[in-house]
Each structure stands twice: as C-alpha cells, then as structure tokens.
Amino acid sequence: MFPPREEFLRVLPILIFCGGGTLLMLLQPFLRSRTAFSLLALAGSLTAVVSVGCSAAHPGAAFYGLIGSDPASVFFEFLVGAVAFLVILGSASYLERESLAPAEFYALIFFAAAGMCVLASAREMLTAFIGLEMSSISSYILAGYRRESPKAAESALKYFLLGSFATAFFLYGIALLYGSTGTTVIAQMTPLAPGLLPKLGLALLLIGLSFKVAAAPFQLWTPDVYEGAPTPVTALFSAGPKAATFALLLRIFVEMPLAAGEWTRIFWILAVITMFAGNLGALLQTNVKRILAYSSIAHAGYILVAFAASNEIGVAAVLFYLLAYAAAKLGAFSVVAHLGGAGEKRIELDDFAGLAQRQPIAAAAFSLFLLSLLGIPVTAGFFGKFYIFKAALASHLIGLAVLLGVNSVIAAYYYLRLIIVMYMREPKEETAALPFPGAVTTVLALCALATVYFGLFPNHIIAFASNPRLFGH
C-alpha cells in the first residue's frame, strides 16, 4: 500500500530539505570549492521555497492524517524556507572569513529547516515531536559550530542541556495527553474523563514550547546562546524555530478541543513577564548581539499577547508579526554578522559608533530593521504591533494592551540608543569600513524590501491569515 502521489506533494518542502541535506553530506568528500557548496545549498533552499507552492496546490492530509498541507502550514513553510535561503545566502562570506567547513553547515541548516517545516505542518503530536527534535538537535550543533571559540562551546552546551530538559517536559506532556485522551492527533484530543490530567499534560506541553520560543520564565538561555552562536546561526534561531514553534502552538490552541478558552489567563501572565524580562534585560546590555537576543525575548512576549487575546484577529496578528519580525531580525543579524569582523570581535555598542559616516547604507539598513523591531510606521513591525493591539482590545484585554504599550516605550530606549550611537557618536579609534559582499547586500536588500513593503501593504497577509480554514479541517 504505497501512499498516493499527492501525499508526497503535500509534504514536498520537507522532502526537499531532507534530501538536500543528505545530498550535501554525500558530496562533502568530493567537492572542494566553497562556492560549489554555497550554490548547491542556495539552489536547494530556493527549490524548497518554490515547492511550497506545490504543497499549497494540494491541500489536505497526508500519511494517515499525521501531517498535511493547509494555508497555515503553507505560510510557515514559506517563511521557514525563505529564512533558510536568506541565512545561507548571508553566511557564505561569514564561513569563509571564519574558515568554517561549508558542507556540514548547510546540511545542518537544511535538516533544521526540514524539522521546522514538520513542526509547522504536523497534525499529530509524535510527528511534531520528531520535527521539534530535528530542528533542535541541528540547532545545538550549529550553535557550537565555531569550535575554537569558548563562547560557542558554552552556547552549544547550554542550549543542549536546557533544550533537552525542555524536550522532556514536552514529551511528558504528550504522554499525559495520550493517557487522558487516547490519541495523539491534535484535533481529536478530547478527554476521556473529566479531570486535571489533560490540563497538566497541556501545561507541560506549554512549558516545553515556551522554552523553544524563549518565553519567560524559560528564557534564561537565550542571551548566552544567541551571543555564542555564529551570527548567521543566531539569525536563523531568532527567525526560524520561533516561527515554527509558534505555528505548532497556534495549531494546538486553535484545533485541540481541550485547549479552548481557559488558557487566556496563563498566556496573559506569560506575555507580561516575557515582555518585561526581555525589555528590562536589554537595557543593561552593551553587546549588540545580546541586545538583539533580549529583544527577541520581548518579541515572543508581544506574540503571546495575541495568544492571550485568542480571537481571529489574534491568529492573523501572530502570522503577520512573525513575518515582519523575521525580516527585521534576519536583516539586523546579517549586518552584525558582517560588521563583527574576524572572530566576531567588534560587536560591542562602541564598535558601531560613527557607522553612519563610514558606511551610510549599512547604518541606514540597520536603523530600518531596528525601527521595524520598535514598531515605527512605514515598517512591517508597526502593523505587527498594531494588529496585536487590535486583537487585545477586541478581547477587552485593556490592561494587557497598556502593558504592551509601556513595553514598547521601554524598548524604544535601547533601539534608539543603538541608532544614536551609529549616527551621533564619534568612533573612539579610527576604523576601516568593511564593504559588504554582494550576497550579504542582497540579503539586506530583500529584508529591507519585505520590511517596507509589508509596512505599506499589510492587507495581503492579513487577508490570507484571516482565512477561517487556516488550519485544515
């Protein structure tokens, strides 16, 4: 009994990422040139992005309903594919500068992306678990890819130990849910008997996933891991796994009969402590990578506000926000990856002083991404925050909306400080400009384009995300 052809087409992006990663591994002993691997990886990830269209053209369940293609999975697979493509495009020059092996690096990115696509399209918990593990284990290895750097080792070890701990919570949650519902299919999880067991299972699941999206109080690993990992990998971490994990969380809380209603208060609390943990933590930092790491904690908090609202605008807001956030974060980290210079030694705030005179275009692009993260109009980040506000107000969460506003004001301090340093402050010592290679410039241009385009025309995405049949069924 071989599954019909459409079922393979529905999961084509996953197959291409898995196959591409394997191919890169097989070619590793034979190809010597870095360019060949970069081109191959670029072609592979581009094919995967294009194949999302194929998955979109064949909506429906595949492989006994364990996985499937629906508008939500298509959206997130596209996002993950685009993130992988841009990270690969931006990391070729980085790998060469740090003299790191390209084949394994790209293969790991492929497998991580495959795992994220599984997370985004799984309709059953065990499949989602394998996806989560694929993405996580690849991430642990990528975090420690600069083997001679002690910070990278710390980053990988911390991520691995805490991540495995979180995975255990997730798995225990699945076990309890299976015990109390008799199934692992998300949409069929109705408790066999009333009681606290399914709620405990769901709570454990939430703990595991909160760790992966860096939500407080499970966010302590984030700054160290983000700082120690190679910066292109940090870009991947902040955009990819976060989007895929939120996709799963969204699916659980939209589809699972168990998860209806009463979780609002929990998300309320999670959102508030996450926003404050991120924004207050960022105020004290002088390392640009750490500032951006704390800012990604804060952004997880903003997205959790939409979860607390738990209405249709909230779902659309989560999708839009993740897109806007991915473009801005990817762009910002690409700038840092390049300007950090050999060994990533120049990533302190002072190193960015006078950047506007040295490299006006880079400074302008970086400022644009920071303003989008801050949520200034004409950037995508503005509409992201706007729709989250709208969702919170539609559910009468006035207090939460106010706290979101307060946090945006706190965040303004450290984003604007960075911009002021670039434009107003004189550099302490004379530093040479580091011209951007073409590939990195392309990444920045694409991210800036997305940031401005969705900052002017958010309607396409919102209309797409407001589809009542976003999650299959």
Binding site: M25, F63, I137, I141, G179, A193, L200
Partner: protein, 164 residues
C-alpha cells in the same frame, strides 16, 4: 490478588526503588547501575502487558547499548563523586515536596480516570500491532527519525573531527 498483580507490584517497587537510588546516589557509576535496574524492571512491566517486542527492545537498547555508553563515558571522564553545592541543597528542599505532589496528583488523576482508560483499545501492545502502527500509520515520523539520527551522526562528526 492474582499472580500478575503480585509480579506487577514487585516490578513496580523495583523500578521506583531504582529510580530513587539513581537520584540519591552520589557516585555516577552507582546511578548508572540503578538506572539498569529501572530499565529491566520496566521491561518486565512491558512483558506483563503482553508487549514482548517492546520489552526486548527495552533490554537490548536501553539496558544494553545505552547503559554501556553511559558507563563508558563515566569511566572515560573518570567522574568522581558529585559535589553538593548550596544550589543542589535548595533543589532538594524544593524538589522532594514537588515530586511528591506531582506523583500524588498523577495517582489521583489515574485512579479517577482508570475506568475510562480501561475502555480505550490497546492495539499496539503485540509485536504485530506495533509493527502495523510503525510501518503503516506512523511510517512518516518513523522515516523522519532516520533523518534525526543522521543529524546526530553529522553533529558528532562536526564537533569531534580533527582540525585539518
């Protein structure tokens, strides 16, 4: 009390005892040995449920391969007795009541829902049922697992290979 029930309680007590020793023991090798007891006791419990394949795999993979790996790593690192820090004391003070609360809570929940759970069909216990599940319904995650293992192998290569 049926013989099955007696065997169950003996194995369950052994598993719990092993698990407590695993956490309480100071020397890692004692912990590893206690873990073997847990694994074997669990294998017995699976056998009691009629899941002979899972029981065999439990012994071969967990009791055998993984434990050998644990013991090897402990010996290679020459790990001595673990140190007690002030943090681990706090963990004990907070952990014991939490663990007791969780087990009490789970016991209560299982007791209350045991009736409903007993009605749930158990198809996967037998080797035949399990293979049907693995190679038909769950073939997609099953195949994905091979990529997961590939990632782990790749990771070992990347992190441990000699600089060239």
């Amino acid at each position: 009390m049926t013989p099955q029930l007696i065997v169950f309680f003996v194995l369950a007590a052994l598993a719990v005892l092993g698990a407590v020793t695993l956490i309480a023991a100071r020397h890692p090798i004692h912990s590893a040995l206690a873990l073997i007891v847990v694994m074997v006791a669990l294998a017995g419990l699976y056998l009691l449920q009629g899941a002979e394949f899972v029981a065999a795999v439990q012994i071969i993979v967990y009791g055998g391969a993984i434990m050998v790996l644990f013991v090897f790593v402990i010996m290679l690192l020459n790990a001595g007795e673990e140190e007690r820090t002030s943090l681990s004391r706090i963990a004990r003070v907070a952990g014991i009541p939490l663990a007791l609360a969780l087990s009490g809570f789970l016991a209560a929940a299982v007791l209350r829902s045991s009736h409903a759970a007993a009605q749930a069909p158990v198809t996967a216990a037998s080797t035949r049922g399990l293979s049907m599940l693995l190679f038909r319904e769950f073939v997609f995650p099953f195949e994905l697992t091979s990529f997961l293992i590939l990632v782990a192998i790749l990771g070992a290569l990347v992190l441990a290979q000699r600089e060239n």
